[in-house]
């Protein structure tokens, strides 16, 4: 067996723990913030080194970036990677994911290809989760995103576990193949001093655009289908109501509980009424929404997005259509899709593939997009659809804008606004020349239109023959115990104010009485006071509960970013100047050790409801 060759592609990002917001301008301050390896990429590096230790392999790390990215490569070398390549050229600056993945794919080709190409799941600055799958697509290789475990590597195939929010599959794929690694896959090692010293003096090869034979019109800003047209601070949306709970503890506890229950009652599950806006432009193509599903079960986020896509379709004076890709079982989704407001449904039949398979679904979706030429395609931002949108964008040669939270139409084009650095900054992005504009949309931001029973529309059927996939599912299961933090309606967050790990019990008790779960801030998870998977924040889990209750959480930017999508935020903290109070809806200045036990007591006596 010839030696296995593993390439890891990494990115250097500003250290998110050190980022801060300028209090005057509200802009993100990048100056003086140290650059680090994108933390999820450390897991890809670690996995490559483990493959080397397990099977014997030549490991290579590459990054596209400015000359300073050299230090990220050296860190990877210190962890045990054999060779490093810096892909650096001024002409590459400003690349979007399309141009970046193209560049990375050219670099991999220049390396003579590889058996495995590993990526981190996402980059913590842009959080697009696109570059890995897109690079695979450029190279024509199978793509397996969100790998939680590499089970086995054989001469010509690999067996991995792929874990999404909803399910877990054991997949066999031929090599070469592209994987994006989840953080749960491993714990990155800390290099020893001798490795650091060795890495510091190691040779790093620098390649420019000509070295990798990149076509000039496909790289950098010039080659990117999407353009950032505006960057601005996030809007302030919360008006905090703060009371002093240092004197009358019982009163404060009652008030706080009332606020919690009030927040839970505000049920805004659908738009009450839809007012059709005046069109701003007339486009030829339709607005499409991709309906995500697990077999016959729809992902509700798809219908949420239809609510917003309806508005965009009306602004562009075109019809709203939905696309369902799947087998026999998924036909049952058609009626529901009409009822949630689609004028037209494209049912793209992939016989025998009720569930998502990247190769089959990419091919199916790309076929209908090429045939019907929609103006825009909206995808719900789940792991499966983000991966599908990534590979499809390359297949149909267009730009993809990830994780959008706001849309508008201006001068005839779709403006998509998305958070960067987990919401510290908002970028508005357009896709001027390529069609369709493809966007993935953050779940939980928009609301579905009211469902109209029996509503019908035009059904277009397409059947995809010649179904072919290199991915073989060996085992499949729906995840019972999902990421409870990400899905909980009530999250009780605990920060350093809790003082000792034993005291977290108090928060657990409150959470269980309210029917919620406990999450912790980064310092607590770092100190091992609570499991890492319960860490709320940018480098932990991003939550979107109906109510987030912050106990003794000061509100570091890192943490605030993770709770941004919570519908309501309540905080209790002894320090009236804690930043959490400027980022919550209701708060009590007081001692958690007084107020929380009082709340527990009140809940037990059922004096509040």
């Amino acid at each position: 067996m010839p030696e296995l060759k593993v390439v890891v592609s990494i990115k250097q990002v500003p250290d998110v723990d050190e980022l801060r917001i300028d209090p005057v301008t509200n802009n993100l301050v990048r100056e003086g913030v140290p650059a680090v390896i994108n933390p999820p990429d450390l897991h890809a590096i670690e996995e490559a080194v483990r493959l080397k230790e397990r099977y014997g392999a030549k490991t290579i790390v590459i990054t596209m970036g400015p000359p300073q990215a050299d230090s990220a490569l050296r860190e990877a070398l210190a962890m045990g990677i054999d060779e490093a390549y810096l892909i650096s050229d001024r002409a590459m600056a400003g690349a979007d994911t399309w141009a970046t993945s193209y560049t990375v794919s050219k670099a991999v080709q220049k390396l003579g290809g590889a058996d495995l190409i590993l990526f981190g799941r996402r980059a913590v600055d842009g959080e697009t989760e696109q570059v890995g799958p897109q690079t695979g697509k450029w190279l024509g290789l199978p793509v397996i995103g969100y790998v939680s475990e590499i089970k086995k590597l054989e001469k010509d195939k690999i067996i991995v576990t792929r874990t999404t929010e909803f399910d877990e599959e054991v997949i066999e794929a031929p090599i070469p193949t592209v994987l994006t690694m989840l953080e749960v896959a491993n714990k990155p090692r800390q290099p020893d001093i001798l490795s650091l010293i060795k890495a510091k003096t190691a040779k790093i090869t620098v390649w420019n655009k000509d070295d990798i034979k990149a076509e000039p019109d496909k790289i950098g800003l010039a080659g990117s289908p999407t353009k950032v047209i505006k960057v601005q601070p996030p809007p302030k949306t919360r008006k905090a109501e703060i009371i002093d709970g240092r004197k009358d503890i019982e009163k404060a506890a009652k008030w706080f509980l009332d606020k919690i229950f009030e927040s839970l009652k505000e049920d805004e599950s659908t738009l009450k009424e839809y007012v059709k806006p005046k069109p701003k432009v007339k486009v030829n193509g339709e607005i499409w929404v991709y309906i995500d599903h697990i077999g016959e079960k729809p992902n509700r986020a798809s219908f949420e997005i239809m609510g917003e896509a309806r508005r965009i379709a009306d602004l562009m004076d075109t019809s709203l259509s939905a696309v369902i890709v799947g087998g026999e079982a998924t036909k049952s989704l058609i009626d529901e899709t009409f009822e949630y407001g689609a004028d037209k449904v494209y049912f793209v039949e992939t016989k025998g593939f009720d569930r998502y398979d990247n190769e089959v679904y990419t091919r199916a979706l790309a076929t209908v997009i090429k045939k019907y030429k929609p103006e825009a395609v909206f995808f719900p931002g789940t792991k499966n659809t983000r991966e599908l949108a990534s590979t499809t964008a390359i297949e149909v040669n267009t730009g993809l804008i990830a994780d959008c939270t706001n849309f508008d139409v201006d001068k005839g084009v779709l403006l998509s606004t998305r958070p960067d650095f987990g919401g510290k900054e908002m970028s508005t992005i357009i896709c001027p020349k390529h069609r369709p504009v493809m966007v993935t949309v953050r779940a939980g931001v928009f609301m579905p239109l009211p469902r109209v029973q029996g509503r019908k529309g035009e059904l277009v059927r397409e059947e995809i023959d010649d179904l072919f996939t290199r991915l073989k599912v060996l085992d499949y299961r729906v995840i019972e115990k999902r990421n409870i933090l990400a899905e909980a309606d009530i999250v009780v967050g605990v920060g350093r104010g809790i003082r000792s790990p034993e005291n977290i019990k108090m928060a657990e008790e409150l959470a269980s009485l309210l029917g919620g779960v406990v999450g912790v801030s980064k310092p607590l998870a770092d100190m091992g006071w609570y499991p890492k998977e319960r860490q709320v924040g940018q480098t932990g889990t991003t939550i979107r509960p109906k109510v987030y209750i912050a106990l003794g959480v000061s509100g570091a930017v890192q943490h605030l970013v993770g709770i941004l999508s919570s519908r309501k935020i309540g905080a209790i903290n002894l320090d009236p100047s804690a930043p959490i109070f400027e980022n919550c809806d209701f708060g009590v200045v007081g001692d958690i050790f007084e107020i929380v036990p009082k709340m527990v007591e009140l809940l037990k006596k059922k004096e509040v409801s």
């Binding site: 301008t25 003086g32 001798l194």
Partner: protein, 395 residues
């Protein structure tokens, strides 16, 4: 792995030692515990450019603003005197993160190897070499420079110097407020983006303190230092003092709309070499680790660079301890700190400090009103301190 010289700490002293030794041809390893040089530091300070010119290429030195004026402000209970000293522009405010990074980069350019995120736990002699123990394993060196700052754990563990006592320490606190560049220019009346000012404040209420204000590009720093023993005796926190300084100077009005970017506390030693050893075997100490900070102006960077250079040369040429210490004493910067200490020791005695602030205030106010009846001159005290200040006798 074996090096000629391991330098502990990539601050001004460490980088200066590393650059000096590396230029002399030694194989130098520079170890820093922070993720980057300067990252363990509080944000800024004022420097004299000529302190750097002997070893660094100052054409590229990253400064915030050139200081055109230094205002000396004396605050007694009732009076306030402000003296503005116009200076030639060799003073500048700097951001430590940028400055320290720049110094370490120059050391790297000279051939030193910089490794960050690595904490040195101890240094032990083994035969003719030293074992440098870190949290990532050990390295070996023939000579070691300890430039680890005021909290010199390695030096103390190696029994080279004792811990700093409250009698010999000034506690400083500092706050930095963010504004944008244009606002800074407007509020301080600067005509250019690189124009700056700094204030030196001496006050006696509620306790004697020395305060400072530096203006950075887009921020203002204010701070105060109080002798630790006064804080302990009077059971007062340094922030109470800082709040008083801010109140007296109308600082809150000056930074209205700005918000607190960072706050920090640092202990400034006003004791050390030559009362402490600066050397043991082939281990050379430099900078804050041997107390080389001027406790009245808080200038520690200048003496750190100067002593770092001497330590680098000592390590390069494998000086005996007696030679290293005498070379240190020959250095103008080091001598300035050392010779200033007796005076400083006298001055930070609560009663003396109060006396001066009050007397100078009274004198100047008396001069304005042509009424010197309030001024009480203690000539013997004045004479003694004058002589101390001139270095005529040593405490």
């Amino acid at each position: 792995m074996k090096f000629d010289i391991v330098v502990v700490g990539a601050g001004p002293a460490g980088s200066s030692a590393a650059i000096t030794a590396a230029r002399g041809g030694a194989k130098v390893l520079l170890l820093e515990r922070g993720p980057e040089p300067g990252s363990k530091n509080v944000s800024g300070a004022m420097i004299r450019l000529e302190d750097f010119s002997s070893v660094y290429d100052i054409a590229s030195i990253p400064i915030e603003r050139k200081v055109k004026n230094v205002d000396l402000i004396l605050l007694s209970n009732s009076n306030r005197t402000r003296i503005s000293v116009n200076i030639e522009s060799n003073l500048a405010t700097v951001a430590r993160l940028k400055l320290d990074k720049w110094m370490a980069q120059q050391a790297e350019k000279a051939g030193a190897l910089l490794i960050t995120k690595t904490t040195v736990l101890g240094v032990e002699r083994e035969g003719n070499e030293y074992k440098v123990e870190t949290d990532r394993g050990e390295v070996r060196a023939d000579r070691v420079v300890l430039a680890e700052g005021v909290n010199a754990l390695v030096s103390m563990k190696a029994n080279i110097r004792p811990d700093l006592t409250p009698d010999h320490a000034v506690q400083t606190v500092k706050e930095v407020y963010s504004l944008n560049k244009d606002e800074v220019n407007k509020r301080f009346g600067f005509k250019a983006d690189d124009e700056g000012v700094s204030w030196r404040i001496l006050g006696i209420d509620p306790v004697p303190y020395a305060g400072f204000l530096y203006v950075y590009k887009d921020a203002v720093a204010i701070g105060a230092g109080i002798p630790m023993k006064i804080l302990i005796k009077r059971k007062i926190t340094p922030y109470t003092v800082l709040d008083e300084v801010k109140e007296r100077l109308g600082f809150n009005e000056l930074v209205k709309g700005a918000s607190l970017r960072e706050y920090s506390a640092k202990v400034i030693p006003e004791y050390g070499f030559p009362s402490w050893k600066a050397c043991s075997g082939k281990i050379y100490l430099a900078g804050d680790a041997i107390g080389l900070v001027d406790p009245l102006t808080f200038n520690g960077i200048g003496p750190a660079v100067a002593s770092g250079v001497v330590a680098g040369k000592a390590a390069l040429e494998s000086y005996e301890c007696s030679k290293y210490e005498s070379e240190l004493m020959k250095n103008r910067e080091v001598r300035r700190v050392v010779n200033g200490r007796p005076l400083v020791k006298e001055l930070i005695e609560e009663e003396n400090f109060k006396y001066y602030v009050k007397t100078i205030n009274d004198l100047l106010h008396g001069w304005v009103y042509s009424d010197f009846s309030k001024v009480k001159l203690d000539t013997s005290k004045l004479l003694k301190h004058l002589l101390l200040g001139m270095g005529v006798f040593k405490s």
